[in-house]
């Protein structure tokens, strides 16, 4: 059984590394300290991937959503919303577990041994709602309505919160670009402090950013129950052994809610289920939906 778990998780790690390398493959950017500006930047990538990362070849969907909403000529972002609908309807939060570069960073940090790992932060049940607040406030309402004299807003989540932007864009550019380094101030210090806090937390708790703060995960989570890729649970096969719950790193009960909005589809529960009660829509096992 352990071998099977490690195989799925090894494949997941390989996919995460490949996707991160592919979507951030502009190596010259890491040498010159300049970002890529080719035509692929008009297309969104599925995960949280800052477009100001020196290596980024595509656009961050969350940044793009704010960019269009904060533009004075647009009140609705049909292009990005359409993209999120398609990706969400296909995959749901599978994107978080398998395709997101910042998710990979948190997964790698969680592998670092620590005296006592926590399954969840105190108040986990309530903290999970923060990401919906950030989605509504910082990603949609503030970019739409907090505008200047000419009607132009700004991307509030990118500006004040996004740790992916700081890690993949801010820090590398601060190292590589002397002109930018000289201009750093309070905002950079605030975002760096937030990022450091999240990186440290990631050693203790699995994926704190995804669970509590990520608006993109909040969006994709809404699709989990109806996405083409989803989990199935056969209550007749379940022996209530609790193995799935113990294996879940984000502290869910897959047998009670196999398509929870919080599930990042890492698949650890599928591997440990001794009777095959849990399966996915891609699984070859016979299982009736529940």
């Amino acid at each position: 059984m352990d071998k099977k778990i490690s195989l799925r998780q090894r494949i997941r790690l390989a996919v995460q590394l490949c996707v991160t390398a592919l979507t951030n493959g502009y190596v010259q950017g890491f040498v010159s300290g300049r970002i890529f500006s080719g035509p692929s930047k008009a297309y969104c990538v599925p995960g949280l991937n800052c477009y100001s990362c020196p290596g980024a070849l595509g656009a961050c969907p969350l940044g793009s959503l704010q960019a269009v909403l904060s533009n004075r000529n647009y009140r609705f972002a049909a292009y990005v919303v359409g993209f999120l609908l398609i990706v969400g309807a296909f995959f749901g939060r599978f994107v978080c577990g398998w395709l997101c570069p910042f998710g990979l960073v948190q997964d790698l940090l969680y592998k670092i041994p620590f005296v006592k790992k926590c399954r969840a932060l105190p108040g986990d049940r309530w903290l999970r709602w923060i990401k919906y607040g950030l989605l509504a406030g910082f990603v949609i309402l503030l970019p739409l309505f907090a505008v200047d004299a000419v009607g132009q807003g700004s991307p509030w989540f990118c500006k004040w919160i996004c740790p992916s932007g700081t890690l993949m864009g801010g820090w590398p550019l601060a190292v590589l670009n002397e002109g930018l380094r000289a201009a750093l101030g309070f905002l950079f210090a605030w975002k760096s402090a937030l990022l450091i806090l999240l990186l440290l937390l990631s050693v203790v708790v699995c994926r704190p950013f995804c669970r509590y703060l990520c608006p993109l995960g909040a969006i994709y989570g809404l699709f989990n129950p109806i996405a083409l890729y989803r989990f199935r649970f056969d209550s007749h096969k379940c022996t209530h052994c609790g193995a799935c719950q113990r294996a879940c790193k984000v502290d869910l009960s897959p047998c009670l809610s196999p398509n929870s909005r919080e599930c990042i589809r890492c698949g650890a529960c599928l591997d440990v289920c001794p009777t095959g009660a849990l399966s996915s829509t891609l699984s070859r096992k016979e299982s009736s939906p529940s």
Binding site: I35, F36, S37, G38, P39, K41, A42, C44, C50, Y51, S52, A56, G58, A59, C60, G63, S64, A67, V68, N71, Y74, A77, A78, Y79, V80, V81, G82, F83, L84, L85, I86, G88, A89, F90, S154, P155, C158, K159, C162, G165, T166, G169, G170, L173, A174, L180, A183, L184, G185, L187, F188, A189, W190, K191, S192, F223, I226, A227, L228, P289
Partner: protein
């Protein structure tokens, strides 16, 4: 077969709606906004405001 189709229907409808919205967005020039934002340095993203 019908049960399978019924379980996939919501996702398929959303994918179709997504495709229509994306096409509408491209027609409205939203992709250009995304391109301009993504191909220039985003000061907010890197913490310069």
């Amino acid at each position: 077969m019908r049960a399978l189709f019924r379980s996939l229907l919501p996702a398929l409808l959303l994918i179709a709606l997504g495709a229509v919205l994306m096409a509408a967005g491209v027609t409205r020039g939203e992709q250009d906004i995304v391109f301009i934002k993504a191909s220039n340095l985003c000061m907010e993203c890197i913490g310069l405001g």
